[in-house]
Amino acid sequence: MIQLDNVSKSFEGTQVLKNINLTINQGEVVTLIGPSGAGKTTLLRLLNWLEVPDSGRITVGEVTIDASKYSKHDVRRLRGQSSMVFQHYNLFKNKTVLENVTESLVIVSKLKQKEAEEKAEALLKKVGMGDKLHDYPANLSGGQQQRVGIARALAVDPKVMLFDEPTSALDPEWVGEILHLIKQIAAQGMTMILVSHEMRFVRSVASRIIFLEHGELVEDSNPKDLFENSKSVRTQAFLQKLTYEEV
């Protein structure tokens, strides 16, 4: 479903991802954890081609791109496989809640306006935003904006959803409900990759956890093994730094 072959990426001379090889299967809920600067977010963004790898091959769904040779057309096909939920929501500020979701349906998926609105309304109801269809993002709380962000990402019928620290910009009061919503989507069998620092949530939602540090995959395991008997000293050191309550 998702495959990375020898993927490397550096920013201004600093290598953030070193020769990553990774395979993720359909239906898996994979969480990337690790200290800041480990390359988690970069890895996630590569899959949506928001970052361009220096070398290696990336496969998402039916599309494979080689960093050494690709066209704009390849990039669009790759992006069509996945969708992203952002840390800072990134809702289209000049569009209403409804328009944020219909935008890609009309412009990219070429649905008729009416069909797009019906689909968007259904999704927005599902995420609990059915009563705010005509509000602009500026008038929504962080939690509400992130619900719309999730509806927008669901609308493109992605094969895999990418969540980039979806709750870390939220006020604590909204974190629970967003995590609950993500869990619901996971329960419906959606393939997901998440970057998150909410360890308790990670443990309960993930089918697989990958610990990254200094741009390398240090440990790749199921939640129980990773949290309770990690084989890696580096993972143990990272987990020990987290407060007792978080683990």
């Binding site: 669009r76 969708s83 990134n90 569009k95 993002p137």
Partner: protein
């Protein structure tokens, strides 16, 4: 000796001077529109960093910023006829160098001038839109052009209006230079009326009031446009 300052004469000369208002407004309006078109193209070239064209655009902006408006008007006024002449000689065409009305030179010069300033405003407004907006467009698989057109540019317009309003006001004021290439605008009309009566001060008070009113109206109108363009940012009490 008459009065030192003659308010009655001043008020009476308003209608005479206002006869030239349409010319001033026409020059300002047409050069603003052409300037906006130039600015749109140039800002896009710079924003997208298009090869070869981008450095040319940069040089154009630098030149316009670094030379006085009056000098630019002179360059166009004397330069374009020479250019046409050269073309006539080279290609055997028969452009009538003397048939070009002065007002065309004025509009070309002011449009080129305003275009440079406005393009910088537009470029920085495009850059001021949160980069997350473009990423969100990409994440739902919109193309770059779709993203620009539907998300980035609409937001940049709201950001650009206050500085564009300043440029437009500068442009309106710069039209007062076109009397130097024998166009009867407000300023030239003032000179004519003034030289008849020798009450130049009163006449220039009249002219200044007219410019002031035009600029105030334009600034007010554009502030309303700005509110409309940024309507999505307005917080509504729930």
């Amino acid at each position: 000796m008459g009065k030192i300052f003659d308010p009655v004469f001043m008020i009476q000369s308003f209608p005479e001077i206002l006869k030239a208002l349409p010319i001033t407004l026409f020059i300002a309006f047409v050069s603003a529109v052409i300037g906006l078109v130039i600015a749109f193209i140039v800002s896009f070239i710079r924003y997208s960093n298009i090869r070869i064209l981008s450095p040319i655009a940069k040089a154009y902006i630098s030149f316009i910023r670094g030379t006085p408006d009056l000098v630019q008007i002179m360059l166009v006024y004397y330069g374009i006829p020479l250019f046409l002449k050269a073309i006539n000689e080279k290609f055997g065409t028969a452009f009538d160098v003397n048939g070009v009305p002065s007002i065309a030179f004025a509009i070309i010069a002011l449009a080129i001038n305003a275009g440079a300033y406005m393009s910088e405003t537009m470029r920085s407004s495009l850059l001021a839109v949160d980069s997350g907006q473009l990423e969100a467009c990409y994440s739902v698989n919109m193309t770059r052009l779709q993203a620009l057109w539907r998300v980035i540019i609409p937001q940049a317009i709201g950001i650009a209006i206050p500085p564009l309003s300043n440029t437009l006001i500068s442009l309106i004021k710069a039209t007062s230079l076109v009397f130097t290439i024998s166009i009867i605008d407000l300023m030239a009309q003032a000179k004519i009326v003034g030289s008849r009566s020798f009450r130049f001060f009163e006449i220039y008070v009249v002219v200044s009031i007219i410019y002031w009113v035009i600029c105030a109206v334009v600034a007010f109108a554009l502030s309303k446009v700005e509110v409309h363009a940024k309507r999505y940012e307005r917080k509504v009490d729930q």
